[in-house]
Amino acid sequence: MSPDHRSTRSLRLDLLDQQVLDGTERPVGRVDEIELEAGQDGTLAVTGFRLGGAALGRRVGGAVGHAMTGTCRRLADDEASPLLPIESLKDWSPRLTLHRALSELPEVAGLERWLGKHVVSRIPGGGDARV
């Protein structure tokens, strides 16, 4: 049917749930939600995406989903699963790579940051968390 190399990509299969790496190729999470906006000219565009349990919880749904969203909201000091604009994206082939490193993305992967700095890096041999 369609040739194997393509000009368009699928929102469901190529973007949603796709692995996201930071500027240093370090996995930081997955695309848990996608934001779209309709422009004046009627065309719909992807404007950004969200990483984090709060957004994921909404898509899982059911009691488990609500629990996930709830806990993430309580854990996050500011807004849980904040919106990352498309401009922060360096590359999408097939994994998403961000321009900036995790240390420059204060609102992303809070749990990783906290555990890395306060717990694991303190254990001898734990290494530097670079967060």
């Binding site: 194997d4 996201v20 990483l51």
Partner: protein, 412 residues
Amino acid sequence: MSTSKLFSFTLGTLSAIGGFIDIGDLVADALVGARFGLRLAWVTVLAVVGIMCYAEMSGRIAAVTKRPAFDLARSRLGPRYGLVALVGAFLVTGLLVMAELSGIAFSFQLLTDISYLFWVPVAGLVVALFLWALPFEILERIYGIVGLSMLVFVVAVWQLHPDWGHLWHSATTPSPTPGETWPIYAFLGITLVGAQMTPYEMFFFSSGGVEHGWGPRSFAEMRTNVIVGFPLGGLLAIAIQAVALVVFYPAGIQVEHITQTVLPVVVALGKVGLAFAAVGIFAATFGATMETLFATGYDIAQYFGWSYGKLQPPAQAARFTAVTASLLFVSVALALTTLNPIQVTIVAVVFSAMLLPLAFLPVLLVANDHVVMGQYRNGKLSNAIGVVTLGVSCLISVAAPVLLVYTRGGSG
């Protein structure tokens, strides 16, 4: 091929052997051998073929996409069913970590007569230190090579001077022994499938491939690991069944303990055999503890997209490290509740067999994804074996709970 390449090549393959026997095999194979002889050996053979097909597929996917098997579950099953697969894999593999840990403790007990419960925290500490300090290549080599001492079971078969005709007759009679019923025969067949076809091996195998930086050029090494490792694991499983048949079946002995699993080796080879068996069981269960522990950590990390594994210092995979450490701690605690690890193993193995479709389906789909795999997508053979294995695993996941209850866990 330069000698160092050849050396690492063979080491890679040898280390695969250590990882293919775990407590599930040690218990299930001995139990089945004592009761049905080799009449279920054909199940082990088919299970080896099935897991080889899916291990090769997930290894190929890992080499092409640089993403391990479980990574695909969420992208192909979606967040909700990916979560179901995750929770299922977590519970089953989590139980297995506890059983494997107890396996290490049993191997210490074999030579010291100090209760295995004393050894469980020691085993937990040893595993934690090894995992924390040593890089993977070294770990794989250690338990791989040491695991070779499991071959003592194969030697024991010869040493027992069995009536080969009887063994062959047993292996070619796919029906229950007199006085045994078909439901129990089927149930024990399912436990063999669960013991042999363990999804955590597929996840660990493919995640290891990603960490070793496999690319399409490493297909040869990957396939050698599969072609040598899994069948040898199957051979060991059948050897355990055979020695149990020769020594236990005539005496009407029912296998319930690891000490009974090694008894035929004692009969055949004496103290030397026993020492080898104890070391082999230690290596097998030690390797399996690490594999089940990391496979569980991988599953969770890959579902949420965290960094994982040992490529970076632990602090840079903090969530993965925290989850893995807490699972090890919980497993030690669970083992110390004196819950019988052999029963836990049988239950874990049966539930693992029930979850096979959730583990196999995403792999089979992605292996046929032209955009992802391009020219490396499945050929007719992989697809044929893959579909048959998936079909059988669906039947098993329906039949397993019914038979588990009907045969009262095989005691019936």
